[in-house]
């Protein structure tokens, strides 16, 4: 028997998908890793501190025997972590409402941990759901059968969490006392044993499933289910506009009031011009969009927590297969509307390597939240706010929906074309589409609220410094030499050089500068234009940027072309880097960057030609 190394200090959380590992991880470490009600949320290893130990949250899996190559990477990592010298305790997280399925993996993990002389404890999570049905579990007998300690807990309601924390501390303190001591460790009958144990200790599942099936009878109905799906998607994209508008107006008024207060106080001069144009024109015009980001996060968060997304994936499987994608592409696509980077990572759960690649390459066409400010600004310029479609839907809202829809349609077309071009033989490494449908649950409010606040924080933290810097640079280059008009400024002189590139799109050099700058981050577009129009606005009134652009005269064709350019172009270095990391090929990442850039230019050109 090997002696346990005392320098080791890792604690692993292992369990089947959707068993609450990440929520437990968050409770034990105080961190906020992503938690959602569908299988396959965590796709990467997450680390955090628990006492002086390192707690490691691993992606969920049904088995330690891998099928596909993608899966092999994740599973090998779990196996290696168990064997690792630094591992002190292995926590098997079980879903008490799906005992048989979680025990299959739990027993496999226990057996492997035993081989490597590691301490094992079981966490019987989701016990609140079991108690709701008045089911009692004899933990003493269960513990005896397992040969490892087990604590019933609810990572959500916090029942039993204290007891579990104490156990975990103990086990980490003296792992040698928590080695597995079951009599029978024959790995071949884990299936039989988990069935027996589930029969003996688990609850009668028919009651649970009855609730779930009642909702599914509606949600998966051929007619109502389809309509419900369309309605949910429409509400999602529509409310980004309708719910956010009053909030955005509020922020805008507040920023405007603050700006005029400060500039009045400062009096006239270069410093005042700077504050007004670069600070309030640049950074301020971008802060207006924070409410939209929060509403988007709120609605996606509600959907993620409800259990509906797995159903949506199931309903989309057939239609998406036609485009060479999988039903599992749906969730990455949806989260791509918040940000492409986690979405590209989430594509790891797609069963076939080819479909995964197609999904990753087309995710950048989903309108991520960085594009929201650009859309909102240009829509406000092009469409009067009081026009209605069919007297019912606000036309600006419809245009918003249209832009999102355009991105999705482009993604499907690109995927279809790529599939026709790359003749793949759908080889055997493809997993078939098998998806576990989780129980429906009411959203967990506190983390949802935190998620929403965090999204605003991230949005500001990521873009504000870049926007500030770009605004300052643009302001300096555009303001001097002192007294010159914008066209005669240093920036204006540079602008003449790039104007020919953007002339075919019907855009002058100021838009050209803003577009080029937005390759740093898309939101920079709004800030740059804000600064540029601030400088050229002689009266120095703090009217909204959209009004200024309107007064300046942007043609319909050029405006539509510009906004469509932003739907298609991949102006995000971080996305290119993620694509490179996840595909392992720099050529693919930069190739897709160039391809989407050219396509965007072409579309903008055509829109300008046709509409003018």
């Amino acid at each position: 028997m090997t002696v346990i190394n005392s320098s080791n200090s890792n604690i692993l959380l292992i369990g089947k998908p959707n068993s609450g590992k990440s929520l437990l991880f968050n409770q034990l470490t105080g961190l906020r890793q992503k938690v959602a009600n569908y299988p396959g949320v965590t796709v990467d290893i997450k680390r955090g501190k628990f006492n002086e130990h390192e707690l490691i949250d691993l992606p969920g899996t049904y088995s330690l025997h891998s099928l596909s190559q993608d899966e092999a990477i994740a599973i090998e990592h779990i196996q290696n972590s168990i064997a690792d010298n630094d591992t002190r305790v292995v926590v098997c997280v079980l879903d008490a409402t799906r005992l048989e399925r979680s025990l299959v993996l739990g027993l496999q993990v226990q057996a492997l941990a035993k081989q490597h002389n590691k301490a094992v404890v079981f966490a019987l999570n989701l016990i609140d759901e079991v108690r709701r049905f008045n089911h009692q579990i004899d933990l003493h007998a269960f513990e005896k059968e397992l040969g490892s300690p087990i604590v019933a807990l609810s990572a959500k309601k916090l029942d039993g969490l204290h007891e579990f924390t104490e156990l975990l501390k103990q086990a980490a303190e003296t792992p040698e006392n928590y080695l597995v001591n079951n009599i029978d460790s024959d790995s071949s009958n884990e299936l039989i044993r988990s069935r027996e144990l589930a029969k003996r200790f688990g609850m009668n599942l028919d009651v649970v499933l009855k609730d779930q099936n009642r909702i599914d009878n509606f949600m998966l109905n051929s007619v109502f289910g389809g309509l419900a799906f369309l309605a949910i998607m429409f509400v999602l994209f529509q409310s980004i506009f309708t719910l956010a508008t009053p909030l955005m107006d509020g922020v805008e008024v507040a920023i405007g009031a603050l700006g005029s207060q400060i500039t009045q106080f400062m009096g006239e001069g270069t410093a005042t011009d700077f504050v007004q144009d670069a600070l309030f024109g640049g950074v301020g015009s971008f802060l207006v969009f924070v409410p939209q980001i929060m509403i988007l996060t709120l609605i996606i968060g509600l959907l993620e927590d409800s259990g509906y997304l797995a159903r949506a994936a199931l309903m989309c499987h057939r239609p998406l297969s036609y485009f060479g994608l999988s039903g599992r592409s749906f969730i990455p696509y949806l989260s791509g509307h918040a940000c492409a980077i986690p979405a590209i990572m989430a594509a790891r759960t797609i069963e076939s390597p080819h479909k995964r690649l197609m999904t990753m390459l087309t995710i950048p066409l989903m309108s991520c939240s960085a594009r929201l400010p650009v859309y909102a600004l240009l829509i406000a310029v092009l469409i009067p706010s009081d026009s209605y479609w069919l007297g019912l839907f606000n036309l600006q809202g419809v245009a918003f929906f249209g832009l999102y829809f355009f991105g999705i349609v482009m993604a499907l077309i690109v995927s279809l074309i790529l599939n026709k071009l790359t003749k793949v033989d759908l080889d055997k490494s493809d997993m078939p589409f098998i998806l576990e449908l989780p129980s429906y649950r009411l959203p967990h409010w506190k983390p949802l609220f935190q998620k929403v606040l965090n999204s605003a924080h991230q949005f500001i933290k990521r873009a504000a410094p870049i926007i500030f810097m770009v605004s300052v640079i643009i302001w300096v280059l555009g303001y001097f030499p002192s007294g010159a008009s914008l066209d005669d400024s240093w920036l204006g002189m540079l602008g003449q050089w790039i104007e020919p590139i953007f002339a075919p799109l019907g855009l002058d050099w100021r838009y050209g500068v803003a577009i080029l700058m937005s390759f740093l981050a898309r939101e920079v577009f709004v800030g740059s234009l804000g600064t540029l129009f601030g400088i050229s606005d002689a009266e120095e009134n703090l009217s909204s940027l959209a009004d200024k652009i309107q007064a300046d005269g942007l043609t319909l064709g050029a405006g539509v072309g510009l906004v469509l350019f932003y739907v298609v172009a991949l102006q995000c270095v971080a996305t290119v880097a993620t694509l490179k990391g996840e595909t392992g090929k720099a050529k693919i990442a930069w190739g897709i960057f160039l391809a989407y850039g050219s396509l965007a230019y072409l579309i903008a050109f055509l829109a300008n030609q046709i509409l003018n």
């Binding site: 025997h65 799906r98 299936l191 199931l314 098998i434 998806l435 576990e436 449908l437």
Partner: protein
């Protein structure tokens, strides 16, 4: 009879899996509960040959046609 042919709201007993299924996949199916002798219930059928929804051992799964055609049902007992 194939699992794919199981109509909505009907139950049956899982039989063998097709020999066309690779061993690894067959093992995974067993780990997910598709084992001889287990009762399976069809919860929903989707239009246009979309995935079927079944419940098995307390878990609900969506399965596409290509895989559920390769899982046989024990006709003697159903």
């Amino acid at each position: 009879m194939q699992l794919w042919e199981l109509p909505k709201n009907q139950s049956a007993i899982v039989g063998k899996v097709s020999p066309d299924i690779e061993d690894k996949l067959a093992e995974r199916l067993a780990e997910m509960g598709f084992e001889q002798g287990q009762e399976v219930h069809c919860v929903r059928r989707s239009p246009f040959k979309g995935p079927m929804v079944i419940s098995l051992g307390g878990t609900v799964f969506a399965l596409e046609q290509s895989i559920s055609e390769l899982i046989y049902l024990d006709t003697a007992q159903s």
